[in-house]
Each structure stands twice: as structure tokens, then as C-alpha cells.
């Protein structure tokens, strides 16, 4: 029997060897059942760094002691595979049953499987005959329902095969004894996509913001220069030009990059909630306030950067409070009697003309000057048309990868349409259009038929010209936009889902859509 077992292990793993004698002083062979060591066996072993073994197995079957080891240097062609794990388990279990030593030593299974699983890059789940998971190794959070698995097994034939789950296909092997299942293992190879190729330099580098247009490149240079400082930055530009992206970029390039980046959209949060979101509150400061109080975004951004998007929509009373934060670098929670110091860098952004708001007494002039230490104007996409092709290529590539689809390209006709379009929703709209096309197109080449209807044949090119909606207003354009919004609401409906669709079609965010609806008093 001894030879049979050793031979089986030899066959399964390619090579096993008897343990060196010097190891015996550190390992006491099992008095019963099995034991597995994954070196170092003890912290006192003198060969701790040069141990020649990957795994040491100790068995006692019918008064015979087995001490075998798997050397680190095995033949190149022989690898520990999931199949060899199963074979190994079978050998051990069968040997155990053959000798009628019904030791269900879980330690053996646990240690061996976990060791081997790490070696062979697999995820696995081991169930007992009651369908309970007794052991698993997985890198991702997977909630497997044992009853589902057993149910699926009922449909499958044989003791081996594969089953489909919502977490992918798993191979399975059913352990059977006397025609009764005694256990089940299911496994799959971990996705090769992650961690197989560790890139040693990835930590130190950052990607660039896409754009080669001359003015855009100058802005990127300016951003790189001011990112390292502590100055407050005011980003101005139309909706969808990537203001938050720039804010993240600045944060990433700054010495605060390891600190938090907290973004808040001042227009998307109801006025009465914005104060508590920004400043936090003390325990019992108002009805419904959380026990123990809550820190505001300023406090959460401590040591990092706070990004105040759509600052032009901030109510006047809060503007005064914000001004104090900018001046004193201290925040006072609602209901608090003391101020708390905060170490933050502020980046604000707006798509409105703040000077006009100041004239209309809707924005504090002192706050404007405090915010606009470094004003940065981010150009609209139509102001950097030479980047459209590059951006289309960039998003096309990334969206295909994200959707796990084969790469696609745009046909020359599609490119022509996209290059000539005015992109009122800027890069956000461009990304939406590419996502739309990639999702629908099953071929290699995206022809105009896969573009959103309003872009096809360039028909609605003029219909959707929102070009100057937000900067240089004109009465006619306002009217056009209002009409357009009404048409779209009539077409899609007024539910939140419909509004999401409308926003997507217009290439604007939901928050911007709500703002427009409010502005034009459309209900």
C-alpha cells in the first residue's frame, strides 16, 4: 500500500520525495490521520529561507508512517492543476477508505487545498454532503447558494463536468461513496485579467488627459504647474467639458494625492440639505439628525481636496459660510459652538458666468475673488475640434474593453458625421454617443445607422444646437432650448427614468437637466 500511495502521488504531481532526515527534528509525524505542512514548518527551522520543499505531507495509515515532500524544483512541464488536486484528494480519500480509517481530517483538506489553490491560481468551494460550504478560496465576493448548486447538479450527468452560475462556469467533481455523494468541489481558474502581469512601475505614473489641441495643451501645462501649489482653483467651462476630471487630475498631481478627494455638486443637493452636507452637524442639532452628529464634506476632505461643482448654484447664505472656511480654514458644524480646523485645498467649478451672477446679486463678489485665485477656462469640444478624432478613438477603445467586446472602428461616413457635429454636451455627450454605438453594433465597423437617431444623416444637426446655451445667452437660443426640452418631455414622459433618457440624449447630466427645467420653469 505504501508504494501504491507514493506511486499515485508521484504520478499526480510529477515528483515527490522522501523527507530529509534533518527535517524530522522539526516535524513530529502525525500520531493519527494526516498532517500537512506548508514550509516553514516551525519558526525555529534553520533552513527557513532555503527550504527545498513546497509542501510536506504526513500520513499514518495502518500503523505505517508516511512523510513525503513536494520539492520546489519540479519538472517544468508538470504543474499543479485543478485536476491534480482532485486526483490527490481522491488518492487520499480512497487510501483512507481502503484502510477503513474513516478519518475525515479536515485539516488535511483545508491546508492542502488552500496551498494548492494558491499554487494553481484557482477559486474553489468545497461542500460537504449536507450542501454546506466547508472550505473555499476566492478572491472576489461570491454568494453561492448551495441549494442552487445541488439543484444544478441534479440536471447534470456524471460525477464530473461543469455548471453555469451567475459568477461564471465552474468545473465540479462529486465525491461518491457507496452511490451516495459525500462531498462536492467546484472550481474555476481565476480570471487571467487580474494580477497575472504585475506591472512594477504602475504606482509612480499617471495617465494624461486626452487632447492635443494647442490651447488645450497649454491649459494642461498650466494645470501641471499650479497643481503642486496650495492655491484655490476656479474651473470654468460648459457642462460636460470635464471639470471634475480636471479637478481629480489636479488632486492627483498635487502633494495631497494620497489624501481624500471629495466632490460635491452644489446644484444637485436641495438647498436645505446642502449646508449639513458641507458643514456637518452636531448631535441633536435638528429633528432627524443622526446621533453623535455627522462630519461634513469639508471635514471629510481633511488632508485632501474638496471639489465644489456648480458653485454658482450655491445659495447666498451658504456662500457667506463658505467664505469663512476659505479665509480661516475652519468649519463649524451646524449646532456646534466651536470651529474645527481643516486642512483642505478647494477647487470650485461652474458653468455659469459668475460676473453676471455678481451683477444680479446672486453671487458674492468677495467669494468670487477668494475662489478665483487661479481661474482656468476649459474649452468646449467645438473649440477644439482637432481633438474629436482622438477622443472618439480613445473612448471607442475603452468602451469596447469595458464592455468586453471585440474592438471596433468607425466607418469614414460615421467619422464625418461625428466630426461635423457641434457637440453641445461636450465630451460627456461624445462618450455617450460612443457607448450607444458600441452597445448596438455587433460588427467590426460602426456605420452611421448605429449612431443615436438625432445624429444620423446629420439631419438634426441644427435641431440640437445648444451651442451657446450656457455662456453667451441669447433670447432665441433660450427659447429653442425650452421648446426642445418640452418636446423631449412630451416624447419620453416625465418620470425620473425618462429624464435620465432625455439627459443622455442631450449629452448632459441629470443635474443639468433639472437645472434647465427649473430655469425654464418646466414642470
Amino acid at each position: 500500500m505504501r508504494n501504491n500511495l507514493i506511486d499515485s502521488l508521484q504520478e499526480t504531481f510529477g515528483f515527490v520525495t522522501e523527507l530529509q532526515k534533518e527535517c524530522l527534528s522539526f516535524i513530529s509525524p502525525s500520531k493519527a490521520g494526516y498532517h500537512v505542512w506548508s514550509p516553514p514548518c516551525t519558526p525555529t527551522c534553520p533552513n527557513i529561507n532555503n527550504c527545498p520543499y513546497d509542501l510536506i505531507l504526513s500520513f499514518k495509515i495502518e500503523k505505517n508512517n508516511f512523510l513525503v515532500a513536494l520539492p520546489k524544483k519540479r519538472s517544468k512541464n508538470l504543474k499543479i492543476t485543478p485536476a491534480s488536486i482532485i486526483k490527490f484528494l481522491q488518492i487520499v480519500l480512497e487510501t483512507s477508505f481502503a484502510s477503513e480509517q474513516k478519518t475525515h481530517n479536515i485539516l488535511l483538506l483545508e491546508q492542502t487545498l488552500q496551498f494548492l489553490a494558491k499554487q494553481s491560481n484557482i477559486e474553489f468551494y468545497l461542500f460537504n454532503n449536507k450542501g454546506q460550504i466547508i472550505l473555499s478560496q476566492n478572491s472576489s465576493f461570491v454568494q453561492l447558494s448551495p441549494s442552487d448548486i445541488w439543484e444544478k447538479l441534479g440536471d447534470a450527468n456524471g460525477s464530473e463536468g461543469f455548471i453555469k452560475t451567475q459568477w461564471g462556469n465552474f468545473y465540479y467533481h462529486l465525491f461518491v461513496k457507496n452511490d451516495k455523494p459525500i462531498g462536492l468541489i467546484i472550481w474555476k481558474i481565476k480570471s487571467f485579467q487580474k494580477n497575472v502581469n504585475f506591472c512594477p512601475s504602475s504606482k509612480d505614473y499617471s495617465f494624461a488627459i486626452i487632447g492635443k489641441n494647442y490651447h488645450f495643451t497649454e491649459i494642461k501645462k498650466l494645470i501641471r504647474q499650479i497643481a503642486a501649489t496650495e492655491h484655490t482653483i476656479l474651473l470654468q467651462g460648459e457642462s460636460g467639458t470635464g471639470k471634475e476630471l480636471f479637478a481629480r487630475y489636479i488632486h492627483h498631481l498635487s502633494p495631497r494625492k494620497d489624501g481624500p478627494f471629495i466632490a460635491i455638486n452644489c446644484a444637485a443637493i436641495p438647498e436645505n440639505l446642502l449646508e449639513s452636507e458641507l458643514f456637518g452637524y452636531e448631535d441633536g442639532s435638528f429633528t432627524g439628525a443622526r446621533r453623535g452628529g455627522k462630519p461634513g464634506k469639508f471635514e471629510l476632505a481633511n488632508g485632501g481636496t474638496i471639489f465644489l461643482d456648480e458653485i454658482g448654484d450655491m445659495p447666498l447664505p451658504l456662500q457667506a459660510k463658505l467664505l469663512r472656511v476659505l479665509e480661516d480654514r475652519q468649519v463649524e458644524r451646524i449646532g456646534a459652538t466651536i470651529s474645527r480646523p481643516v486642512d483642505i485645498r478647494v477647487i470650485a467649478a461652474t458653468n455659469k458666468n459668475l460676473k453676471e451672477l455678481i451683477d444680479a446679486k446672486l453671487f458674492r463678489e468677495d467669494l468670487f475673488f477668494r475662489l478665483s485665485v487661479f481661474p482656468v477656462y476649459i474649452p468646449a469640444l467645438r473649440e477644439r475640434r482637432d481633438d474629436i478624432l482622438l477622443l472618439l478613438d480613445f473612448y471607442l477603445k475603452n468602451i469596447c474593453l469595458e464592455q468586453d467586446k471585440p474592438f471596433k472602428i468607425f466607418s469614414p461616413e460615421t467619422i464625418e458625421i461625428l466630426q461635423n457635429y457641434s457637440w453641445p454636451g461636450n465630451i460627456r455627450e461624445l462618450k455617450n454617443v460612443v457607448t450607444y454605438a458600441v452597445s448596438l453594433c455587433k460588427d467590426d465597423i460602426i456605420t452611421p445607422q448605429y449612431l443615436p437617431k438625432y445624429l444620423q444623416n446629420g439631419v438634426s444637426f441644427n435641431k440640437y444646437q445648444f451651442t451657446n446655451v450656457k455662456s453667451e445667452h441669447s433670447f432665441i437660443e433660450d427659447e429653442q432650448l425650452k421648446n426642445q426640452l418640452e418636446i423631449l418631455l412630451a416624447k419620453y414622459g416625465k418620470s425620473t427614468q425618462s429624464k435620465k433618457l432625455i439627459a443622455q440624449e442631450l449629452g448632459i447630466s441629470l443635474a443639468t437637466l433639472y437645472r434647465w427645467l427649473k430655469k425654464y420653469r418646466i414642470r
Binding site: 505614473y205 495617465f207 492627483h252
Partner: protein
């Protein structure tokens, strides 16, 4: 309209080696000839947008061994003969030269031809990198023939391929002549109008090669070089570079029965990488897994000298960094992979994009879009 002047040549040379992905041939002598010739001359460079739709242009390139071309330097006259013959047979008058293979020697030879003929060169190419065969072009993907094509061998004999024929057969036929006639030949073919070229050519290859080269000229250390290359490649039709491996060459071997050669690199930690190449670097394996595959570019650089390295120059004990550069999208669609994917070189596996192989690097980091 831009012009190529002598300042272009050094960065273009580094860029041409990088885009050669190990192959493309040595182009040092050709580059120095051009550098001299451009001291008081310039070559007009046309962007794809600047091409007149109705004007005709022809593709120029070198077939065969770039090493033999270095031994017996061409003058550009070969191409001018080929262009003249092609004009005769097509009835077109060519208004410029297009580059077929935007890497290695085949970036420089069309420039020499442009100087000889006085024609402008188009900023674009049909491969986006170095590839060994004529059918591995974007023309092939659009089902556009290479012919009519005129081949001038090293002894100035003219060979005509006027009938439309399968690109693969043409590749075999031209290669046969080149082998019989001194190992190197110069061709003029791909006679197409501006309207066609706008759709077919990969844009801005020459300026991209130059920008790549500038990174090598401006960097003071490897870290800086990587950052510069990352900025340039991110803003291109290729994609952000990724570091595949850092190490020294442990050994170089050739598989006797196949076209393949292999270099094994070893890192300071003892990790090994197998780089498989024919002329160009085609596959890299790390820990038994694919670490990069054609058509993505695998380009070696010397981290100490901060220079790109051609496969002709590698030796055992040499320190190298392997960088991966995602190929332009046009080369990575299924139809293109049938012509330039790993299987076309005899490796029976599907192409895995660098962005999937280095998922964490490309996707879990801050990617700014």
C-alpha cells in the same frame, strides 16, 4: 503645411526604431544621409486632411534585407525610376508619396525618394509599426490591391506587377525576385487618390514617431523617459505604454525548425521573461502566461543609454526594459487580426490586448477620462 527639416531626423530615427518593435531594420546610415541632405532643403509633409481628394499618391518602400541596403546605400533614384514607370502604366501623375510601413528603414527610404523626386510625403502609413509582409497593411483590410506595383532591384532592373493579384501571391512573387536579385528591392505601388488614402492610412505616423523620439532626446533618466512616453502615447491613436519587464538578457536562441528566435530576460528578482521574435518582437511570456502579443508593439529600450533597441543590436548580458504599446485600433479589429494577429505568425492563440493583460494598470489606476 509642415516641413521635414534636418531637426526631424534624430528624433525620427529613435521613433522609427521604437515603432519597429524590434524589427524594421537598421536605419542609422540612411538617417545620416538624410540629415546631411536636409541641411539646406526640406520635405513638405501633408497631413491626411491636407490631401486633395482627387490627387493621386503612391506608396514607396523597401523590400528585403535592410542590412544589405545599409551595405549598398540607396540614393532614392530607385524609387524615382519606379514612380516614373508606375506613372507610365497608370496614367496618373503622382502628387506625393505615402509611407507603407511607418517604422525602421521604411520611414526613411520614402523620405529619400521624396528628396530625389521633389514630391511631398504624407504623414501617415499603412501598418502603424513594422510588419514583415506586404499584405499586413490597412489597404488589405479595405480589400484594396497593392498593384499595379513596380519593383526596382539592387541592379536597377525594373519588374512590373500590373495585374491585380492576391496580395499574398504578390508578396511571394516580389520576395522571390528580391532574393534572386541581391536581397533588396525598392517599390512604388499602392496608387491611390487622396480620398482613398484619407480612409485607409493610419494618421500622423511620422509626427508620432518624431514625438516618441523627442522623449528619448529630452529624458534624463528612465523614470522621466517613461513619463514622457506615457504622455505622448496616451495622446495618440495607439494608447498608453505599459512596462512589461525590466531585466538583462540571459540568453538568445534560435529555434532551428522554425522562423522563431527567443531571448530570455531575467529580472533582478530572478523572474524570467521569454521574448519571441521573428524579425519583429511578436510575443512575450512571463510565468508561463502571455505578457504581450502582436499586433501590440513590444519595444525594447536600453534603460542606461535611454535609447530604443533594435533586435539586431541585442546581446547576452544587455540590460533592457520592454515596453508595450497598444497597436492602433484599426489593427486590432477581428478582420485585421486575421492578417496581423499571433496566428498569422504561427502561434495558435488568440490575441489578448495589453489593456486586458495589464488590467490593473490600465483600469484600476486613475485613468483620466
Amino acid at each position: 503645411m509642415q516641413e521635414i527639416i534636418s531637426d526631424w531626423i534624430e528624433p525620427l530615427w529613435y521613433g522609427s526604431i521604437f515603432l519597429g518593435s524590434g524589427g524594421g531594420g537598421k536605419s542609422e546610415l540612411l538617417a545620416s544621409v538624410l540629415d546631411k541632405a536636409l541641411q539646406n532643403r526640406a520635405i513638405p509633409l501633408l497631413t491626411l486632411d491636407e490631401l486633395s481628394e482627387s490627387n493621386f499618391f503612391c506608396g514607396i518602400g523597401l523590400l528585403g534585407s535592410p542590412e544589405l541596403c545599409e551595405e549598398n546605400l540607396p540614393s532614392g533614384k530607385e524609387a524615382s525610376i519606379a514612380i516614373e514607370e508606375l506613372e507610365k502604366y497608370t496614367g496618373f501623375q503622382f502628387n506625393g508619396i505615402s509611407i507603407v510601413e511607418g517604422a525602421g528603414v521604411n520611414i526613411f527610404y520614402p523620405l529619400l525618394a521624396a528628396l530625389q523626386t521633389g514630391l511631398p510625403v504624407i504623414d501617415g502609413d499603412a501598418m502603424g509599426r513594422a510588419f514583415p509582409e506586404l499584405q499586413m497593411t490597412t489597404y488589405h483590410l479595405e480589400n484594396l490591391p497593392v498593384t499595379p506595383l513596380v519593383l526596382v532591384d539592387g541592379s536597377y532592373n525594373v519588374h512590373l506587377f500590373l495585374e491585380k493579384q492576391d496580395t499574398f501571391l504578390l508578396e511571394l512573387n516580389t520576395r522571390q525576385i528580391v532574393c534572386q536579385q541581391g536581397g533588396v528591392g525598392y517599390f512604388a505601388g499602392f496608387p491611390y487618390s487622396g480620398s482613398v488614402l484619407k480612409k485607409v492610412l493610419l494618421p500622423s505616423t511620422l509626427t508620432f514617431a518624431r514625438e516618441i523620439g523627442e522623449c528619448f532626446l529630452h529624458a534624463d533618466n528612465y523614470h522621466e523617459l517613461f513619463n514622457l512616453l506615457l504622455e505622448v502615447t496616451s495622446n495618440s491613436f495607439y494608447g498608453p505604454i505599459v512596462e512589461i519587464f525590466q531585466g538583462t538578457i540571459k540568453n538568445i536562441s534560435a529555434y532551428e525548425t522554425a522562423k522563431w528566435k527567443a531571448a530570455t530576460l531575467i529580472s533582478p528578482k530572478g523572474e524570467e521573461l521569454q521574448l519571441l521574435f521573428q524579425y519583429e518582437n511578436l510575443l512575450a511570456f512571463k510565468n508561463g502566461h502571455i505578457a504581450a502579443s502582436v499586433p501590440d508593439l513590444i519595444s525594447a529600450i536600453d534603460p542606461n543609454k535611454l535609447k530604443p533597441v533594435n533586435n539586431n543590436e541585442i546581446y547576452e548580458g544587455q540590460p533592457l526594459v520592454l515596453l508595450g504599446l497598444p497597436a492602433p485600433l484599426r489593427l486590432r479589429i477581428n478582420k485585421a487580426l486575421d492578417v496581423v494577429g499571433p496566428q498569422c505568425f504561427g502561434y495558435r492563440t488568440i490575441y489578448v490586448p495589453l489593456e486586458k493583460l495589464y488590467w490593473d494598470y490600465y483600469h484600476e489606476k486613475e485613468v483620466f477620462f
